[in-house]
């Protein structure tokens, strides 16, 4: 009520201000329990800030890091460099999202390199769920294997011919 009175006071010289306002005209009902809290701006009492001991990229559409944040996989390597550049642009900009997709793809290669560095050879077939493909979709699995073998054989044949 205080906020409403202050609003009326603020607009008292604005003829007709809010004359057609209708609280029922609210397409957000019942999703939003409307109190117009946000009219007060970014003034709420924030939760305790999580200690920032890793690199957290934050959207430039907000002034700070949120009170809590995830600590999974901080940016690193070439993909990290690209992600840092991406966060110089807002969520409104392709300059933000397209480099992030590029970074995701580069990150896949980095993941394989990291695996190999740790002496782990990734089992790509198992990771792609080929056990299930073999069990439930064997015909398609056999076809894919046959096509793969044929293409590899062709490639090997061509390369060996070139080398001669």
């Amino acid at each position: 009520m205080i906020m409403e009175n202050a609003l009326e006071e603020k607009h008292k010289d604005n003829a007709g201000w809010a004359i057609d306002a209708d609280p029922k005209n609210d397409p957000t009902y019942p999703i939003k329990n409307r109190t117009n809290e946000e009219h007060k701006g970014y003034t709420w009492e924030r939760p305790t800030q999580q200690f920032v001991d890793i690199e957290v990229l934050h959207s430039n559409e907000r002034p700070n890091i949120t009170s809590v944040f995830g600590t999974s996989t901080p940016p690193s390597g070439l993909s990290g460099i690209i992600r840092r550049q991406a966060f110089k642009y807002s969520e409104n900009h392709y300059g933000h999202w397209l480099p992030l997709i590029l970074a995701d793809r580069i990150n896949v290669v980095e993941g394989i390199v990291d695996d190999l560095k740790r002496g782990h050879i990734p089992n790509i077939f198992a990771e792609r769920g080929w056990n299930a493909e073999w069990k439930y979709n064997r015909k398609a699995a056999v076809t894919k294997i046959a096509v793969g073998v044929a293409l590899t054989a062709l490639l090997v044949f061509r390369l060996s011919k070139k080398n001669k």
Partner: protein, 384 residues
């Protein structure tokens, strides 16, 4: 501990990762007893969501036992069995105070358009998710809810996302008694939206998809009509024809960016990533709804742009309503529905898979093998 580990599009495995730690006084550590693979996890799995980093653990639908709590946690205690809403919400920001728990402003530094979500890329906050043995749960005074005595854990785990999202899809659709509701997508969310539409008084519920086993399932589970768009020359004309040429009162997009059915949308949205996923379902929803009708969107799209007939939205006077489900707001009502037997969430679970076999479960769900509707992952610690 064991945890699902994303390695790139269509590649995941289960690895040993460090146990999560309390990092904030309002954190809790939960030992996971059930987690689901969500249809929206497939958008991550397919590489459609920007800033999905290799090494992340997915999973935003899970329940478990509280193992540890931070110094400021007062609403739950060690040993409680809790369901954890997929939204990470502070309860203090202007949006949480208005029950927009899916739009919290203090849980996702990376993007302002979406609140924090467990295991859903850095675009949703960079949190490791619940497809693991243990998970860190921030703001434990707000989200986690003690599972009522006697509730089946399989019902409870579906109350963390699928049921609230399906219910909110129907709620946002503003369904009035007797309305014809058309739902695009017979995945878990579409199935639940169909079921929930009756709770709002729908007169007719029609589901459109292209997978016969799912259409058969939804016909039986939600007692509705279901049609295969591959057998319809044009799904929009079909809807017009079956509604006396006026269009549906309400259309719900329960598919999102992985939609099939339009070659151009598929190539530009799913293959080339020139748009934020394929918007076929949304396109059909806008064109199949009546003038002055309502389109409700719960399908997940990426953050860039989509090709939709926005001119028709204007010319038809369509109201579009959309949001991530506000799980905490809806839980009390949905628990009532489950306890009263009006909703039977666990009825959609088709696959119970050991966590260690997550790669197979993802592939089965993604490739729609073995008549999969909803897979859940069970960690070894919950199987003994």
């Amino acid at each position: 501990m064991l945890a699902m580990n994303y390695r790139g599009p269509f590649r995941v495995r289960v690895d040993h990762k460090p146990y999560p730690e309390i990092m904030h006084p309002e954190d809790a550590i939960v030992r996971v007893t059930r987690s689901c693979i969500c249809g929206s996890d497939l958008h991550l799995y397919h590489g459609l969501v920007p800033d999905t980093r290799v090494g992340m653990t997915f999973g935003h639908e899970f329940i478990g036992v509280v193992e540890e709590i931070g110094s400021e946690v007062t609403k739950i205690k060690v040993g409680d069995t809790v369901m954890v809403p997929f939204n990470i919400a502070c309860g203090k920001c202007a949006f949480c105070k208005q029950e927009l728990y899916g739009n919290c402003h203090e849980s996702n530094p990376q993007a302002t358009a979406v609140g924090g979500i467990f295991g859903y890329s850095h675009t949703a906050g960079g949190y490791d998710g619940g497809q693991a043995e243990y998970v860190r749960v921030p703001y434990a005074n707000v989200g986690p809810t003690v599972i009522p005595e006697g509730m089946d854990p399989d019902d409870a785990v579906l109350l963390t996302d699928v049921v609230p999202t399906g219910y909110q899809a129907a709620e946002m659709a503003g369904i009035q008694k007797g309305d014809t509701v058309v739902i695009f997508g017979a995945g878990p969310i579409g199935i639940m939206a169909a079921k929930c539409s009756w709770l709002f008084g729908a007169g007719r519920v029609i589901v459109i998809d292209h997978l016969e086993y799912r259409l058969e399932f939804v016909r039986n589970y939600a007692n509705c009509e279901a049609y295969n768009f591959k057998s319809l020359e044009d799904p929009v004309v079909f809807i017009k024809k079956t509604t006396d040429w006026l269009g549906a009162d309400v259309c719900i997009d329960a598919v999102g960016g992985d939609a099939a059915g339009n070659t151009m949308q598929t190539i530009t949205g799913r293959k080339m990533l020139l748009q934020a996923g394929s918007a076929t379902a949304l396109h059909w929803a806008i064109n199949a709804v009546k003038k002055g009708g309502i389109v409700s969107i719960v399908g997940v799209y990426g953050p860039t742009d989509n090709l939709v007939p926005i001119g028709n939205v204007v010319n038809k006077g369509i109201t579009i309503r959309a949001n991530q489900a506000s799980v905490k707001r809806l839980l009390p009502r949905l628990i009532e529905h489950v306890q009263a037997g009006r909703l039977n969430p666990k009825g959609i679970i088709t696959h119970r898979v050991p966590l260690e076999e997550a790669a197979d479960a993802y592939h089965i769900f993604s490739a729609k093998l073995d008549n999969c509707i909803k897979p859940i992952l069970i960690p070894p610690t919950a199987r003994t």
